[in-house]
């Protein structure tokens, strides 16, 4: 038979409380607490802090990008506001009647013939029109050319330009080019998206 040596732990009672047992339990509690803190709580605090730092960094970055975006948006809207005339002009389809009305204050239009259409600088469409008109004097022509600046279409007046003197008027033949943006429909949709 094995001889098992039994360690005799004295039982100390103070005011009916088993001192040694409670002390041991207390120590056990401390050990458990420290171990949990070391192996369970500390790592989770670390992870948390790490994620938190990353989050704030990301947030800063995001806010910066956001301000940049807002800034750019503001600038864009400013630009749009300042250049409405130009932007709207490029979006207009050429209406012969309207042009006739416009030109009537400078010349009397006999005939407008639409010629070819081509792509200009990737994003624009240029349409050539040949105009036969009557003017009283070259000044009408000059006025006409000046007035094109404020006109709601983007029109270029170009050679060949023919002046032919008639009995009471000058017959004017000129070529105008109308410019507008390509992909108007796509652009309109994009605008709606903004």
């Amino acid at each position: 038979m094995k001889l098992i040596k039994k360690i005799k732990i004295p039982r100390v009672y103070i005011y009916g409380i088993d001192v040694i047992k409670n002390f041991l339990f207390f120590t056990l509690y401390i050990i458990i607490t420290l171990i949990t803190i070391a192996f369970i709580i500390a790592p989770s605090i670390k992870t948390f802090k790490k994620n938190q730092a990353l989050y704030f960094e990301t947030k800063q970055n995001y806010l910066y990008i956001k301000t940049q975006y807002n800034q750019t948006l503001k600038e864009l809207n400013e630009l749009k506001k300042q250049n409405t005339h130009i932007l709207t002009a490029f979006r207009r389809e050429f209406d012969i009647q309207n042009f006739k009305k416009f030109a009537s204050s400078f010349m009397q239009i006999e005939k407008i013939k639409k010629d070819k259409t081509s792509v200009y600088k990737q994003n624009f469409i240029k349409t050539i029109y040949y105009i036969n008109a009557n003017i009283k004097s070259p000044q009408d022509f000059y006025n006409f050319a000046d007035a094109l600046k404020k006109y709601k279409y983007v029109i270029r007046v170009y050679f060949p330009i023919d002046f032919e003197k008639n009995k009471n008027s000058i017959e004017l033949k000129l070529k105008i080019e109308h410019y507008r943006l390509k992909n108007l429909n796509a652009l309109k949709a994009e605008e709606k998206a903004h």
Partner: protein, 174 residues
């Protein structure tokens, strides 16, 4: 297992009262530690998710900003095209005006055809000299080549046809 006793004992606890207290105390503490840890882990997970979210948003905003910048660029392009055209209009007008102003009083124009690099004028001049002295020099100074042809009219005046050529440096696509 026969029961001989007159009395059945009540259930005895395995642990003494104080042991039980300690065990419960330790168990509750452990529970608190673990729930705290879980709470932190949960929060950390939420933060990670939100970080991802923010990154995504930042990226999207960046793309949008790029888009906006493209739009701005395009507006600038439109502006430059427009102004370019206006300038050209002005230029054209000015060219014509200059040329028409050139014409001295005695000479009257009948036809005036101007093109990119060619100007053809049909007009009437009292004398050849008037034309040669007053109109030709300016024309020559502007144009590289001038060809004038006269046609004598019944009344002694001359009808002239002036063909002027200039070397074109411009190309169609400006």
């Amino acid at each position: 297992m026969r029961v001989y006793s007159f009395k059945i004992p009540k259930k005895k606890p395995i642990f003494k009262e104080d042991t039980k207290l300690w065990l419960i105390f330790i168990a509750i503490s452990l529970l608190l530690y673990i729930s705290f840890s879980l709470f932190l882990t949960f929060k950390a997970y939420i933060l990670k998710k939100e970080t991802k979210e923010l990154n995504k948003k930042a990226y999207e905003l960046k793309l949008k900003t790029m888009q906006l910048n493209e739009e701005k660029e395009f507006i600038y392009i439109q502006k430059s095209v427009f102004e370019n055209i206006m300038i050209k209009n002005d230029l054209t007008k000015q060219q014509i005006k200059n040329l028409l102003d050139l014409i001295p009083d005695p000479i009257t124009l009948e036809k005036f055809y101007i093109d990119k690099n060619k100007l053809t004028i049909y007009g009437i001049t009292p004398t050849k000299d008037v034309y040669n002295l007053l109109m030709l020099p300016p024309l020559e100074s502007i144009f590289e080549k001038t060809v004038t042809t006269f046609y004598k009219l019944p009344n002694g005046w001359y009808r002239f046809k002036s063909q002027n050529y200039i070397q074109s440096e411009e190309n169609e696509t400006y």
